[in-house]
C-alpha cells in the first residue's frame, strides 16, 4: 500500500536568471514500512522534493504543479492551517545540519516539548517523561540532565539523535530524512544509521531518505530512486540497482566508487559537471555527459521504460525503437 503518491510533480522557482526547474515532472510512491532513498548529486532536486512534500516552499516564488497525495488526501495547494496539523504529526522531517536545526537560546528539552505539545493533549510532566523516554531510546546517556541543557553543550551526533527522538515523539507515519548523516563522522554515522533502521522497525514508520552517498543507501534502503537535474532517471529495488544498474548516470556513479583492488589506478569518472539549474540541457538532461549519447538524446526527453521486475529507467538506450538496437549495451 502506498502512503504518499507523487504524480507529475513540478517545483519551479522564478529567479533573475530565469526559471529554475528544480523538480521537473517526477512521479513516485512511498509504500508502507519501507525506506525509500532519493539519491543524487547537488542540484538534482532531491531536497526540493522533500520540501515540496512538507509544504515548506512559499509560492510565489515557487511554482508547484502536479499532485502529492498523502493517504489519498491532496497536499498541493493545501492551506498552511491544514498543513500545520500534518507536519510533525503525520509527516516528520530530519534535517542535514543538526547544529542549525536547534535554536541556541532554548534548552533541547524545551524545544522537544514544544513540538510534542502542539500535537498532543498531554500535560507538561507527561510530555517531559515522554521526551526523556525517547532520548533514552535513541541512546542519549543521562537523558534527564541533557533535557535541561543547551544545544551548544552537545555534539553533532547527539543533536542528530535528539532531533530523531523529538521527531518520532510525535509518532509520525512518514519520516523525511534529508542527508541526516552527512555532517557526522563515520563512526557516529554508523550509530545513527543503525538507530534509524531499528526505530523504523519499531515504530513502523515509512522513511524517505535523501542522500548523495550510495554507500549509506546500500546499508539502509529498500528501494532507490536516482535523480539527476530535476528528474528521476532510474527506480529499482536496492539489490537490483546495485547488481544491475541501467541508466548510464547510475552506472557512472557506481563505477566512480573507490575500490580497494584499484588502488593507485586512474579512476573511472563521469565527464563534465552537473549542469546549473537554470540551464538544464534540452532532451535528456544527462546527454552532454553521457558516453552513449545519440542524436535523439539531444532532442527529445526519454520516457520511462518499465522492466518486468519493476525496474524503471528513463533512457533512450532502452526505448523500443532505439537506433542502437542490436548493439551490446
Amino acid at each position: 500500500m502506498s502512503i504518499i503518491q507523487v504524480n507529475h510533480l513540478k517545483s519551479f522557482f522564478k529567479t533573475e536568471e530565469g526559471i529554475v526547474k528544480a523538480v521537473d515532472d517526477i512521479s513516485f510512491e512511498l509504500r508502507e514500512n519501507e525506506i525509500l532513498a532519493l539519491v543524487g548529486e547537488s542540484g538534482c532536486g532531491k531536497s526540493v522534493t522533500a520540501q515540496t512534500i512538507m509544504g515548506l516552499l512559499k509560492s510565489p516564488p515557487a511554482i508547484i504543479e502536479g499532485s502529492i497525495k498523502y493517504h489519498g488526501k491532496e497536499l498541493v495547494g493545501l492551506s498552511n492551517k491544514f498543513y500545520h496539523q500534518l507536519r510533525g504529526k503525520e509527516i516528520g522531517m530530519i534535517f542535514q545540519e543538526p547544529m542549525s536545526a536547534f535554536d541556541p537560546l532554548y534548552t533541547v528539552g524545551e524545544q522537544a516539548s514544544e513540538a510534542v505539545a502542539v500535537h498532543s493533549n498531554l500535560n507538561k510532566h507527561e510530555i517531559k517523561d515522554k521526551i526523556i523516554a525517547m532520548f533514552n531510546k535513541v541512546g542519549i546517556s543521562e537523558a534527564k540532565q541533557r533535557y535541561d541543557e543547551y544545544p551548544h553543550q552537545m555534539s553533532g551526533g547527539m543533536l542528530q539523535r535528539m532531533l530523531i527522538a523529538l521527531t518520532l515523539a510525535c509518532d509520525p507515519k512518514v519520516l523525511i530524512a534529508d542527508e541526516p548523516t552527512t555532517a557526522l563522522d563515520v563512526t557516529i554515522q554508523a550509530q545513527v544509521l543503525n538507530l534509524m533502521r531499528n526505530l523504523q522497525k519499531e515504530f513502523n514508520t515509512s522513511i524517505i531518505f535523501i542522500t548523495h552517498d550510495l554507500g549509506v543507501v546500500a546499508e539502509l534502503s529498500d528501494r532507490i530512486h536516482v535523480m539527476y537535474a530535476g528528474k528521476i532517471v532510474e527506480k529499482a529495488d536496492v539489490i537490483e540497482l546495485f547488481d544491475n544498474p541501467k541508466h548510464p548516470y547510475t552506472k557512472g556513479l557506481l563505477a566512480s566508487r573507490l575500490k580497494r583492488e584499484l588502488k593507485g589506478q586512474t579512476l573511472p569518472f563521469i565527464e563534465g559537471t552537473v549542469p546549473r539549474a537554470f540551464e538544464f540541457p534540452k532532451g535528456c538532461r544527462f546527454h552532454p555527459r553521457c558516453p552513449f549519447a545519440k542524436e535523439i538524446c539531444k532532442e527529445q526527453e526519454p520516457a520511462p521504460t518499465v522492466f518486468n521486475d519493476g525496474h524503471v529507467c528513463s533512457c533512450w538506450l532502452y526505448a523500443d525503437n532505439h537506433p542502437l538496437d542490436g548493439v551490446d549495451r
Binding site: V186, T187, D213, G215, R260, L267, F269, R289
Partner: protein, 330 residues
C-alpha cells in the same frame, strides 16, 4: 626525506575574562612524529577533531607548533629547522616549496580576483617569469595542465563549478613548482562524479611532476586509494601508521578496526552496520582522558590504558601501532 616532524605539539589557549587569562588549552596535537618523503603520498585519516587539519596547517606554517621540531630538507640536501627562527629568505623558499590545497573551493579563492590574477600573484611574489609574455604563457599552460581552457584566465571564481574551482586551486598550488602539497580534504566538498576527476588529476601530477602529498581526509577509501603510507589519528595522537596496504589489510589498533568497519559497504547484500559496537563519541580535546585517548570507547580496554599513554610500537616492517595490546608492558 622532504619534511620531518618530531614530537610536534600544538595547544590552542582558551582565553577568558576581561584580562584574557588563559583558562585552559585545546590540545590539538600531542607528540606527533612524521616524515614525508620525495614523491610520496602520506595519508592522514581520522574523524573531526583528531588534529589532522591542525597538523597540515603546522606544516604549511599557518600555525607554529607549541613544541617540537620541524625540519626541511632543501633540494640542495641541506637541513633547515622550520619555525620562528627561520630567516625571511628561508621562510619564503619553504613556502614556495610546500603549497596547500584547501577543502572548500568556494571560500579559498578571492572572489574579486580573476583566475589569471589568482595564478599571477604567487609568480609575482616569488619573481618567477619576470617577462610578462612568458608569465602569461605560463598561466595559460597551468590552466591547460589542470584541464581548464586558457581563456578562463579572465573569468572570476563564481563563474565556475566546485570541481572547476578545485582545479584552479590546484593550478595555484602547482604554479611555483613545489615539492610537496598539503591537500586538506580536497574533494569532500565535491560531487561524487567529480571527485574522481580531481583525484585522477592529483595522481597524474604526482607521477609527472614528482610531487609529494600530505593528504588529509576523513574518507578511508579515498586515503587507501591515494596513499603510499598512512597515519591514523585520534584526538591529537597517531594511533597507527604504516604502509597503506599493510595498515588497511591488517588494521591492528582497535580504533582503526572500528573505523574500517564503520564505512558503509556498497553492497546491499552484505549489510553490516548492525554489527558495530562502538559506543559514545570522542572526548573533548580540552580534557582528554588520561592514558590512551581512545580508552573511553575502546572495546579491548585494559587497566594500563587508563594510566599510561602507549607509544608507537613496531609490529611489522612498515607498520606501527600505539596500543597496549601490542606492547609487552600490557
Amino acid at each position: 626525506m622532504i619534511i620531518k616532524g618530531t614530537h610536534i605539539k600544538k595547544y590552542f589557549p582558551i582565553r577568558k575574562g576581561v584580562f584574557l587569562q588563559t583558562a585552559g588549552y585545546v590540545k590539538a596535537l600531542e607528540q606527533v612524529n612524521f616524515e614525508l618523503n620525495e614523491n610520496e603520498t602520506l595519508g592522514i585519516v581520522g574523524e573531526s577533531g583528531c588534529g589532522k587539519t591542525t597538523l597540515g596547517r603546522v606544516i604549511t606554517l599557518i600555525y607554529s607548533p607549541t613544541e617540537g621540531m620541524l625540519e626541511y630538507n632543501t633540494p640542495e640536501n641541506r637541513q633547515i629547522v622550520i619555525g620562528k627562527k627561520m630567516n625571511k629568505h628561508q621562510t619564503k623558499l619553504y613556502r614556495r616549496d610546500v603549497q596547500m590545497i584547501f577543502q572548500d573551493p568556494f571560500s579559498s579563492l578571492d572572489p574579486r580576483m580573476t583566475v589569471g590574477d589568482i595564478l599571477r600573484e604567487p609568480l609575482d611574489v616569488h619573481q618567477l617569469y619576470p617577462n610578462p609574455k612568458e608569465k602569461e604563457e605560463y598561466i595559460q599552460y597551468l590552466l591547460e595542465r589542470v584541464g581548464l581552457y586558457p581563456e578562463y584566465s579572465a573569468r572570476y571564481p563564481h563563474e565556475f563549478s566546485g570541481g572547476q574551482r578545485q582545479r584552479i586551486s590546484i593550478a595555484r598550488a602547482i604554479a611555483l613548482k613545489p615539492r610537496a602539497i598539503v591537500c586538506d580534504e580536497p574533494t569532500s566538498a565535491l560531487d561524487v562524479s567529480v571527485q574522481s576527476q580531481i583525484i585522477n588529476l592529483l595522481q597524474e601530477l604526482k607521477d609527472q611532476e614528482n610531487m609529494a602529498y600530505f593528504f588529509i581526509s576523513h574518507d578511508l577509501d579515498l586515503i587507501h586509494h591515494v596513499s603510499d603510507r598512512v597515519m591514523v589519528m585520534y584526538l591529537g595522537s597517531v594511533m597507527e601508521e604504516g604502509e597503506a596496504d599493510e595498515v588497511f589489510t591488517h588494521a591492528s589498533h582497535p580504533y582503526t578496526r572500528v573505523l574500517m568497519k564503520s564505512i558503509p559497504h556498497w553492497d546491499p547484500k552484505q549489510r553490516k552496520l548492525g554489527n558495530i559496537h562502538l559506543e559514545g563519541e570522542p572526548p573533548s580535546p580540552i580534557n582528554p582522558p588520561r592514558g590512551c585517548p581512545f580508552n573511553t570507547r575502546c572495546p579491548d580496554v585494559m587497566d594500563i590504558c587508563k594510566r599510561e599513554m602507549p607509544t608507537l610500537h613496531k609490529i611489522g616492517v612498515n607498520h606501527s601501532v600505539a596500543c597496549w595490546l601490542y606492547n609487552n608492558k600490557g
